[in-house]
């Protein structure tokens, strides 16, 4: 029907698959995020470390390129492309992804809650779980693009250049990259969604996110200092994440001790991560309702 025919007509066309309908939320979430040119620019810039690392790996393996560029001195050592290299790269990209999500992540849910659009969305064939999954996928895809995907590209690039069975002997490193990245993605995404669901106002939600990640260490340090214990680290999500990463990337115990990454056992670090994710899901469950129920 043309727009000039201004009378109501029923819709008799095709309907999309019910199973994947929640991906509409993801698509519109992306669209909203990249509305900001500044954010789009920052996102593009976040690939600079990846490109540098890519060049470094290639440069380290290419004697001819070093000769061509007439590089004086030893240059990057092939042996430097190891678990420490990937751990450092993950650390850098985790921070970049954290800043990106702190910037734009909270708007995903806050914009729906600010003007009460949730009843409109949940009044359609979309469940609350699908709503969360749809929004989660926005952050997960974005963070995947700056964490495990570029890291695995580097990993396979190095494997291709190394040959000699390097891939098989370092397969554990590939899994470590994947698991460590997804753990980070889950924490950041769920905390961002929970913060925005709780506060509705995007700026305040971003501030809450920062507070969660940076007040926790202070609180943990205060407990440690006051009670003379290390269990205060349970409140420090960043510490727990780093401790798990150190384990996943098989950093030797001596180095871990030097980095003070042995204060709590690994299970306790996993507990902190699980508790953070669980708490975020609990908050989302409480806040993401089409209607508030006033119990009497």
């Amino acid at each position: 029907m043309a727009v000039y025919k201004r009378s109501y007509k029923p819709y008799e066309g095709a309907i999309t698959s019910d199973r994947w309908r929640f991906l509409v939320l993801t698509r519109y979430g992306f669209s909203g995020m990249f509305d900001s040119r500044l954010f789009t620019g920052a996102f593009v810039l976040s690939f600079v470390p990846f490109l540098l690392a890519f060049a470094m790996i290639y440069f380290a393996h290419s004697a001819s390129l070093r000769a061509l560029l007439q590089v004086q001195g030893p240059g990057p050592n092939v042996g430097q492309i190891n678990n420490y290299f990937f751990l450092a790269f993950l650390g850098a990209h985790a921070w970049i992804s954290f800043l990106l999500i702190t910037w734009q992540g909270p708007q995903l849910v806050a914009s729906d809650l600010a003007n009460n659009a949730l009843p409109l969305i949940l009044g359609r064939p979309i469940s609350r779980a699908e709503y969360v999954v749809g929004k989660f996928l926005v952050i997960a895809t974005l963070l995947s693009a700056v964490t495990w995907i570029p890291m695995l590209i580097l990993f396979f690039l190095n494997a291709g250049l190394e040959s000699n069975g390097w891939l098989w002997s370092h397969l554990w490193l590939g899994w470590a990259i994947f698991i460590a990245s997804w753990m980070w993605i889950a924490i950041v995404a769920l905390v961002a969604l929970a913060a925005s669901a709780w506060l509705k106002w995007r700026v305040a939600a971003s501030a809450l996110m920062l507070a969660f990640f940076f007040v926790g260490p202070g609180f943990g340090a205060a407990i440690n200092a006051t009670l003379g214990t290390n269990w205060g680290h349970l409140f420090d999500v960043l510490y727990a994440v780093k401790l798990i990463w150190v384990g996943l990337f098989r950093v030797p115990l001596s180095t871990a001790q030097q980095l003070d990454m042995v204060a709590i056992p690994a299970w306790a670090a996993w507990f902190t991560v699980a508790a953070t994710c669980g708490l975020s899901l609990l908050l989302l469950n409480r806040r993401l309702k089409a209607r508030e129920v006033v119990r009497g």
Binding site: V3, K5, Y11, E12, D18, D35, D112, P125
Partner: protein, 312 residues
């Protein structure tokens, strides 16, 4: 014909408090008015039918399908316009309506086309590229209506659709609702405490009171039944006139000062009254057809304490 909405002992509780109590009845109208004083459970009923609140007991069916079992399928058939503000402020009108249509299952291209059409249809065509957050209150109401009908639902819930509208905007909204009703493709449920809105649009009403059904009434049927109900104002010997009218076979009630109400059987024409009046030298100074207004129906329902269902 399958009823549009059926209640079978539906009860909704918030904690220990029963907000909807054992509702029973059927609604079959093309445009159904949901009436009741504030706090009577109108919005709760709509939200329950949308699946936002689970029934504590009993069932409700829409088009014969249980809302508990077929909630997701039914939500694809329903359009919903909430009472309060509901929009995404940083989206343009067309983007917003398209988004909602896509969530209802329309493919992207069709959703865009329908969004344009729906916005033109409600009268927002010229401002469809403006952000919804910049719309006036009346425009936001129309945008809510556009998103409710864009995907071509079979049933649309309008919760206080004329809230906050100025008279011209209200007239426009009522006109749109009547057009939608008359299109024959969609059933409409209007929740309102404004009797005039319901009276102008609906052919059936359900009246709620304290979470109970105070009455279900087919307004069209009521209007037909009351077709021969007359209000008279006479001058002269009204007692003898009233006696004569009763002897004619009419029901008649006097209210003093020449005012009386007469119910004419189908077989008796009005001119018979004029003949009697002329014979008794009584002047008929005013004669009005009167039907029970929706207000009368509503007030009667409110007075009938304990009535759970049934026709008024």
């Amino acid at each position: 014909m399958t009823p549009v909405i059926e209640f079978d002992g539906l009860e909704v509780r918030f904690g220990a408090r029963a907000v909807l109590k054992q509702l029973r009845g059927e609604l079959r109208g093309r445009c159904i008015g949901l009436l009741g004083p504030n706090g009577s459970g109108k919005s709760t009923l709509l939200n329950t039918l949308l699946g936002f609140y689970p029934p504590a007991q009993g069932k409700a069916r829409i088009f014969g399908k249980d809302i508990g079992v077929h909630s997701r399928e039914l939500r694809g058939l329903i359009g919903y316009m909430p009472e309060s503000d509901a929009f995404i402020s940083n989206m343009t009108g067309v983007h917003f309506v398209r988004y909602m249509a896509e969530l209802s299952g329309l493919p992207s291209a069709q959703a865009l086309e329908r969004a344009h059409e729906a916005l033109f249809y409600v009268g927002l065509g010229e401002v469809r590229y403006r952000k919804v957050g910049t719309y006036s209150l009346g425009m936001k109401q129309l945008a809510k209506l556009a998103q409710a009908v864009a995907h071509g639902p079979k049933l649309v819930f309008l919760d206080e659709p004329t809230n906050g509208l100025d008279p011209p905007a209200r007239t426009r909204m009522i006109q749109l609702i009547r057009e939608i009703r008359d299109s024959g493709d969609m059933h409409v449920v209007i929740s309102s405490h404004l009797l005039r809105d319901v009276d102008e649009c609906c052919d059936e009403v359900i009246i709620l009171r304290n979470g109970n059904i105070a009455g279900i009434c087919n307004i069209e049927e009521e209007r037909r039944l009351n077709r021969k109900f007359l209000e008279l104002e006479t001058h002269g010997e009204d007692n003898s006139f009233a006696d004569a009218v009763q002897q004619l076979g009419c029901e008649c009630a006097l209210f003093g000062k020449g005012r009386m109400k007469v119910v004419l059987p189908e077989s008796i024409e009005i001119r018979e009254l004029y003949k009697i009046a002329a014979q008794r030298e009584v002047q008929i100074r005013r004669m009005n057809y009167r039907r029970d207004s929706l207000e009368d129906i509503f007030l009667k329902a409110m007075e009938e304490v304990g009535t759970r269902n049934g026709s008024l």
